[in-house]
Symmetry: C2
Subunit: 506 residues, 2 copies
Amino acid sequence: MSTVVGHDPRTGQPVGGGVPHTSPADLDQIVAAATAAAPRLAALGPVDRARLLTGLADALDVAGEDLVPLAMAETGLGRPRLVGEVARTSFQLRLMATAVLEGSLVEAVLDSADPTAAPPRPDLRRMLVPIGPVLVFSASNFPFAFSTLGGDTASALAAGCPVVVKAHEGHPELTARCTALARDVVSDLGLPSGTFDAVYGVESGPAAVQHPGIRACGFTGSARGGRALFDLANQRPDPIPFYGELGSINPTVVTPAAIAARGEEIAAGYVGSFTLGNGQFCTKPGLLFLPAGHGLDGRLRELVGEVESAPMLTERVRAAFDTGVGSLADRPSVRVIAAPEASPGRPGQWAAPSLLATSAAQWSSDVEALSQECFGPVSLVVEYESPGELVAALSLLEGSLTATVHAEPVDGLPVADLLAVLDRKVGRVIWNGWPTGVAVAWAMQHGGPHPVTTNALHTSVGVTATRRWLRPVTYQSVPDALLPPALREGNPLGIPRRVDGVLVLP
Amino acid sequence: MSTVVGHDPRTGQPVGGGVPHTSPADLDQIVAAATAAAPRLAALGPVDRARLLTGLADALDVAGEDLVPLAMAETGLGRPRLVGEVARTSFQLRLMATAVLEGSLVEAVLDSADPTAAPPRPDLRRMLVPIGPVLVFSASNFPFAFSTLGGDTASALAAGCPVVVKAHEGHPELTARCTALARDVVSDLGLPSGTFDAVYGVESGPAAVQHPGIRACGFTGSARGGRALFDLANQRPDPIPFYGELGSINPTVVTPAAIAARGEEIAAGYVGSFTLGNGQFCTKPGLLFLPAGHGLDGRLRELVGEVESAPMLTERVRAAFDTGVGSLADRPSVRVIAAPEASPGRPGQWAAPSLLATSAAQWSSDVEALSQECFGPVSLVVEYESPGELVAALSLLEGSLTATVHAEPVDGLPVADLLAVLDRKVGRVIWNGWPTGVAVAWAMQHGGPHPVTTNALHTSVGVTATRRWLRPVTYQSVPDALLPPALREGNPLGIPRRVDGVLVLP
C-alpha cells in the first residue's frame, strides 16, 4: 500500500514512516460515518457543541509540546511561530465555543401570524441548520491554524457539521496525530465516531469533493488547485458550495506624507511583513506603492540583507518561488533592490528574500505579469509620480484579501479616494498596519473578490466563517413541542432572536 | 430588428407590437451604466435607499390598475390573482425598505483592539457591502412578484446593487412598462440611470450571465434552464454567484388520525392547493402521502371536477404538462383518480386538472420517475400501508422547497420522526397547512437542497434574500472619519451592532 510521507525542508530527509493513502473503499466508509453522524451532531444542544470545541482546544494545548517538533520537522517553520500557531488554533476553537453558546449564529427569527400582510402571513419561525458533512482541505503553510483542527474545522463543528479533513501532503504525520487526538475527544464525549476523520493521498481530494455524502468544501491553497476542485464541486449532479481561499497580492500604498513622517519605520514594517514566515502567507504584501524619489532603496536593501535565509515548505513551493522571482525580474524596467547572495550550500528548499522595483507607468502597462502572486519572500515596489497615476494604477488591481494604506492624519493625498478605490477590491482594508497577522474575531473578514476566493460572500477566518456551513429552514405553524429549541416560544436557549421584525436580546 | 412578442394564452393572439431584442452592444451599454451606478448606490444612506424602494412600491400601486389587464393578456392569469400579486410586490418593496432602515442587514460588527488575543487583535470593524450589478431573470408564473420589480430586484436594490432584469419571453410588454415606471422613479430621485434596466431576447440571458460587469444572478425557472445558466456563471474566468430557484415536488403527508378528524377538509385543501394558479407554482403539492384505505377517491374526483379549466402560461408549458401527465399515468400501477373530459374546443394552452395515485411500495420502487416535478394542475397520491413504509418512502425524497405534515395533536404516527426526516430535505416545514402561498417576511425561507435550488444557503423570498447580494469588508484601524457611517464610533445610523462580541441595540 502506498503512503504519504512528509519531508523535512531543513534537511530533505523523510519524516516518519508515512501514512497510508486512503482507498476509495475507506473514503466511502469515512463519508458514510460522517453522514450517519450528521443528524446526531445537528441535534446537539449549544452546551454540548461548545464542549466538543473546548475539548479539542484543551487537548491541542496539552499536546502542543509534542506536536510542535513534529510540525517543525514536516514544515521547516520555526518553533516560536508554531507555538504561536497552536495558541491561535485553540483560541479559535474556544472563540467558536463562545459564539455557539451566545446563539446568534443560528439567526433565529420568529414572525407571528399576520392576516393583514399581502399575502396573509402564518406563524413562521426560521433558523439556520447544519448543511451536513464538510470536507476541509488543510493548507501547507499553516499546519495547525488552517489544517486539521484549524478555522474550517472549528467553524464546521460550531455549525454542527461532521468534518472530513483532506490531509496536506506536506504534513501527513502531524495530521494523523491531530486526527487521533480529535477522535479521542469525540469518543470521550460519547459523540459518533463519524464526527471527525481525515483522508490521505492526492487523489483522495478530488474523490472526496465528488463524493455524494459531502455537502460542502473548505479549501486554502493554490489558485490552480482550488479552481480545479471548485469546478469539480460545481460539475456534480448536485453542486455543493466550495469555499476556496486561493492567495492574494495584497497591495499596500504609502503616501509621501507617511514617508516623510516615518519612512524608516515603514521600510522595517514592510520587510518584516513580506518576509514573515518566509513570505509564505496569503496576506503577504506583494506590492508596495511608494512615491517616486522615496529614497529608501539603501535602507530596504540593508533590511532585506538582515533577514535570515529559511527553508520553504516543500520542493514544489521552492521551485515555484524561483520561477516566480525570475519571471518578475525579467520583465522590462524591473530593477533589483535586493537579491540573495549565491547559495550558501544549503539544500534545495532554502530561500532568501528578494526585493524588486518598477515604475507605476511600467507596472500599469504590464499589469498582468507584474501582479501575479509569487508565494515566498519576494515583493515588488511600484513607484508613482503623482496621486493621479497612483489612483489609476490601483484601479487596475484585481481582487485581494487585503489592501493597506499608510498615510498621515493630515495628508497631501486624497486618502478617502484611495480607500474608495481599494475597498471595492478587497475583504480587509488596513490603515497604517501590515496585512500579515490575521486576528481571529467576530469582525474579521478573510476573503475577497476574484481571484482570491471562489466565493466573496464569506470568510474563512473569524466567527462568521460558520455561515458557510449553515442553511436556513422555516417552520410554519409547527406546534411548540415539535420545534427546535432555538425557535420555541419560551426561548429555552436564551439566545438573541428577531421577533416580528425586532431584534430581542435574551 | 427582431422583437419579443407575448401571446395571450386565452386566445393565442399576439399582445402588442413586441419589444426589440437587446443587441450585444446595448447589453454592453446597459451593464456599463449599472457598473457606473454601483459606487453611487453603494454610498447611498439607508434613508435614500428606503426612499427608492417605497418610491417603486408607490408607483407600482398607482400603475396596478393599468398593468393588470396587460398582465392578464400576456399570462392568462386571472384578475384577482394578479391584483393580489401587485399588492404582494409592493408590500415586498416596502418591507425591504423597513429592513434597510432597521439596519441589521449590513451586519455591523466592531471589535476593539485586544493585545491579549492569540494573535493580538487590532481594532476591526466589519460590515456587508453591495456586491455590484445583479442580473435578475424574471419568471413566467409571477409576472409581478418574481419578475421586473419582484423579490430578486427588491432585495438587490435593498442591498445597494444596480439591477439588470432579463425579461421573460412570456410577458415582454409588461416588463417594458414596469421598467419604464422604475426608471422614472430612479430619475425622479436623482439616482443614476444605471440603477435599473432590462434586457430582452432569449440570447441576452446567457450573454448577460457571462458579462464581466455582472456580479451575481438571481433566477426563478426551470431546472434545465437554471442549470445551464448556473454552469455558465461558474465557468466564467471569475465565477459569480448564481442563485437558481428551480421548482420542487413538495411532499405532503397526512396521518390516519388527520384523515379521521378532517378528511374532507384536507381533500378540499389539497385540491385547492395543487390547482391554484393552474398548478403553476413551484410550491404546488406534487405528492400527497395518504394512508391506504383513506376512502377519499370519490370526494377528490368530485373536487377536481369542480375546478375550472384555465389557460397555461405558454405553449411550451402546456406541452410539457401534457408530456409530464402522460409519463406519470403510463408508469406501472399508477391509477387515475380524476382526469379531464375531452377538450371542450379551447385553444391549445387550456388545461384541466388531473389527479393520479399509486402505492408507496410502487412509488418507492420507481421513485425517480414518480417524483419528477410536473408543472401544472396535476398531483400524485401515494398510499402507504404503515408508518414504517411511510418513513422509508419519505427518506427516498430529494430536496424540495417545502414539506407538509397534516396530523393531530394526539396522533398514532411518530410525528417527530416524520419531521426529522423531512426537515433535512426542505427549506420550509408546514404543519396542517398547504405550501402554496409564500408569505413575505423576515422568517420566510424559499429555497432548499438540491435539486430545488443551486444554493441551499439562501432564500429568494423574505428579508434575508438580501444576503445573496452582499459581501463582507473589514476595516482595520481605519480612522473614524474614513469609516462607512455604519461602523463609526458614535453609531450615527442608530443600527443594531455587535460590539466586542455582544449584540447592542440602538
